[in-house]
């Protein structure tokens, strides 16, 4: 596979500097990088898994609404960003690795490169403070 555009590479380098979980996908939603804080959410290490196809990593999360009902994928910020190439934000619950619902805030944004080309998406998981 070809080398990633530098806008993707620089997003990875930024994510590597942050203490908040960051996920980076290509335009199809395949997970091409997640940082160390994100590893605790996924329960796996990027060094071990490498990139993950959308159908694999998309099933790890079980997003729930405030009543504990499953949320449809099309309502999630990153899915919306990959579809419309716009930023999105949403507060919802995910089932943690220990099986407990955990309230989170997710911000997603598109990576639009120097030439105006859509290159991928980024999702940032904030510890929920009722943003």
């Amino acid at each position: 596979m070809a080398t990633y555009d530098i806008e993707i590479i620089l997003n990875r380098q930024l994510a590597d500097c942050l203490s908040i979980p960051v996920f980076i996908t290509d335009t199809a939603g395949n997970l091409i990088f997640y940082n160390e804080p994100a590893e605790t959410i996924l329960g796996s290490r990027f060094g071990d898994t490498g990139e993950m196809p959308v159908e694999v990593w998309g099933t790890i999360f079980k997003p729930l609404d405030e009543k504990g009902k499953p949320l449809p994928p099309e309502g999630l910020p990153l899915v919306k960003t990959l579809k419309d190439q716009l930023p999105h934000h949403k507060v919802f619950w995910i089932e943690s690795l220990k099986g407990k619902p955990q309230k989170i805030s997710v911000t997603s944004y598109p990576i639009i490169g120097r030439m105006g080309k859509f290159l991928g998406g980024v999702a940032i998981f904030w510890e929920n403070k009722d943003i």
């Binding site: 070809a2 080398t3 990875r12 500097c17 120097r114 030439m115």
Partner: protein
């Protein structure tokens, strides 16, 4: 393909008795194949470039970016003042300002006395990005690389050799430095298995630690990078203006004594001529 190094200094021309061995002119390289020349960057080294055939009409100048040390020689390149010449300038695209407006900022008062539109030659501008194009016998690939502002590197394929030119580049930017995975290395495809790579090596490792994000590489990083991408030969360029000949020789000796790999590397020197292929 003949590679002629016309300028090796980074940031600012540095003339004087301390820089006579490596040279004080800023970035410029010429390539010759089948009597056809292309010029890479228009730093102060461009001033002394002469055309192989004075009668040739077309001249091609490929700019990696618009920092002054890569364009300051343009206004002193004599073919620009020859009405019989057609000067093709290739430079990185920007969605906010086109090539003309960015070049015009420099080639106009108060920075330069002559307006670009008043130059007697015909100027033809070509925006490049992640592109491929041909000029005579040369097949050229350009790609954006990590450096502040829109900056490309070039891979130039001649009849029997490949030359890669990435004079301003900070591929190790980030908390973990270089990521040794070809998908995650800025400019990998430009440099891969080139016969000769001319690459940024402005700093020592110690200096780089204090100048992270300035857009340049340590020599050690450039050597590791060149080994990883599998080039046959590396020339480090964009020498720090504070590095005298004595200092550069000391640094090179230290690098050579520490290096255990097979890579053929050296510091670029103004006036070097290298036949490839």
């Amino acid at each position: 393909m003949k590679v002629s190094v016309q300028g090796v200094r980074g940031s600012i021309p540095t003339s004087g008795s301390q820089t006579t061995q490596f040279g004080g002119n800023t970035s410029c390289v010429t390539l010759m194949e089948d009597g056809r020349m292309i010029i890479l960057d228009g730093g102060s080294g461009l001033q002394k470039v002469t055309l192989p055939d004075p009668e040739v009409k077309r001249v091609d100048i490929l700019l990696t970016h618009f920092h002054l040390d890569h364009i300051q020689g343009l206004g002193f390149f004599s073919p620009l003042f020859d009405p019989d010449k057609e000067i093709h300038i290739w430079g990185p695209s920007s969605i906010t300002h086109n090539l003309h407006s960015r070049l015009n900022r420099f080639l106009s008062p108060p920075l330069f006395p002559v307006l670009m539109r008043d130059l007697p030659c015909e100027i033809v501008l070509h925006d490049v990005s992640n592109s491929s194009f041909e000029i005579g016998p040369f097949t050229i690939t350009s790609q954006f690389v990590i450096h502040p502002g829109a900056t490309v590197g070039f891979r130039i394929k001649g009849k029997s050799a490949v030359f890669a030119y990435v004079p301003d580049h900070e591929p190790a930017l980030g908390p973990k430095g270089l990521i040794f995975d070809k998908k995650w290395i800025s400019g990998f495809e430009l440099m891969e298995e080139a016969d000769l790579l001319l690459h940024d090596g402005q700093f020592t490792t110690e200096q780089y630690g204090k100048k992270i994000g300035w857009g340049h590489s340590s020599m050690e990083d450039a050597i590791q990078l060149a080994e990883y991408v599998g080039v046959k030969r590396l020339l480090l360029t964009h020498h720090d203006p504070a590095h005298s000949d004595t200092k550069l020789n000391e640094i090179l000796d230290a690098l050579k004594s520490k290096h255990t790999g097979q890579l053929d590397f050296d510091l670029a020197r103004e006036g070097m001529e290298i036949e490839l292929g």
